[in-house]
Amino acid sequence: MKSGSSFAVRWLQATSAIFSKDIKSELRTRYALNALVMFVITTLSIILFALGGEAASSELMCGVLWIIIFFSTMSGMSRSFVSEEERGTVLTLQLMTRPSTVFFGKLFFNFVLLSGTNLLSIVLYLVLITNFVVRTPAIFIVVMLLGTMGLASACTIIAAIIAKANTKGTLYPVLSFPILLPLLLTVINGTLLSVEGAPFTEALEEVQILVSYFVVITAVSYLLFDYVWKD
């Protein structure tokens, strides 16, 4: 019992160390942060120019919000593993700790980074897109939170896989799209319900799908990561 609890404490300590290393490293190098923020601002500007003051439908604007989130994620999320691979620090981490601590440390880091970027996207979207009004905030918040968790989980394992490939830039969105499609369809539906002012009970199906998606992807990623991480 004692060895089990001490293992859990050490595992948590190592995972939080990987997480804090990535946060500190990101704040110093801005390896992914700049790409994510610039992508959000640029894409929103293009959408505003394209709309030219015209009011688009709610359905369309819900889809556009998630297009921004999907592609901004694609522009920055892969960096968590690609930067380790490019700098040659993968071996250093492999020598330090077991694969599961690296995976969950990176997952928490990606979740925090993605949450920050998504928050920025949502705030800018709500301010700049005049006919995008959230009428059921509870659905919107839950869908955004679960959607971000699912995105972070799927993107972490995909980033680990493509970090070993030669064509990293193009492979990431291509490999991500089929894996993220069920998530994207569900979050777009959920966001639409929140914009239409549906009661929370109507969004329960979406919530269940998003929770299941996160659990399944995280569990599969955990099992797969050992093979991806080791040469």
Binding site: A14, G88, L91, Q94, M96, T97, R98, D231
Partner: protein
Amino acid sequence: MTTFVLDGRGLKKQFNRRTIFHDLDLRLASHEALAIVGRNGSGKSTLSKIIAGVLSLSGGEVTLARNGERIREEAQLEHVGFVAPYLQMYGEFSAWEHLVLFRKIRGATASDEELAALLLRVGLLGRKDHEVRVYSSGMKQRLKYACALLHRPHLLILDEPMSNLDHEGVEMVLALMQEQLATGMLVVSTNEERDTQFCGKTIDLNVFSDREGRAR
């Protein structure tokens, strides 16, 4: 008294269809040192990484045992220290931040005073707060020694141990090798005779592959 034994049997490594080595056996106990020698491309670094547990084998297995009891594969890292020229540190962190970070990741018990003593030992205490990106290649190599010794490993693996080091650095590493032998095991991968002076055992990887690079 705790004794460690490193045991490798029928080791085989292939990259695609190319066999680097096969039918390789090794055995090393506490207070013993093993030299891995061989021409460029013979698989010295590959074998070092396999012994460290970070590279998978195509055949055979390597085990580390403590007092006759096999240590689980995922727990072996706690007993291994590794230094190599291709091992990279984080340029945006200082030497001190590296040691504090690695102490936390490893769950090591070294105090701040011990970390400072370690940096003093490798000659980096005066530059401990400088970012590693501004270090010379020799200073980076010294930092790798501090990081490898942080958790007092029972098995220390050194691949090209004197890379980029000046005379003083070479003397420091030779002293570290002797200290390691007093407490644990040492594996040195090199072609320099000076680096293998404490090694009682030798694996010559040239024996395991012919000039076309195929295993005999």
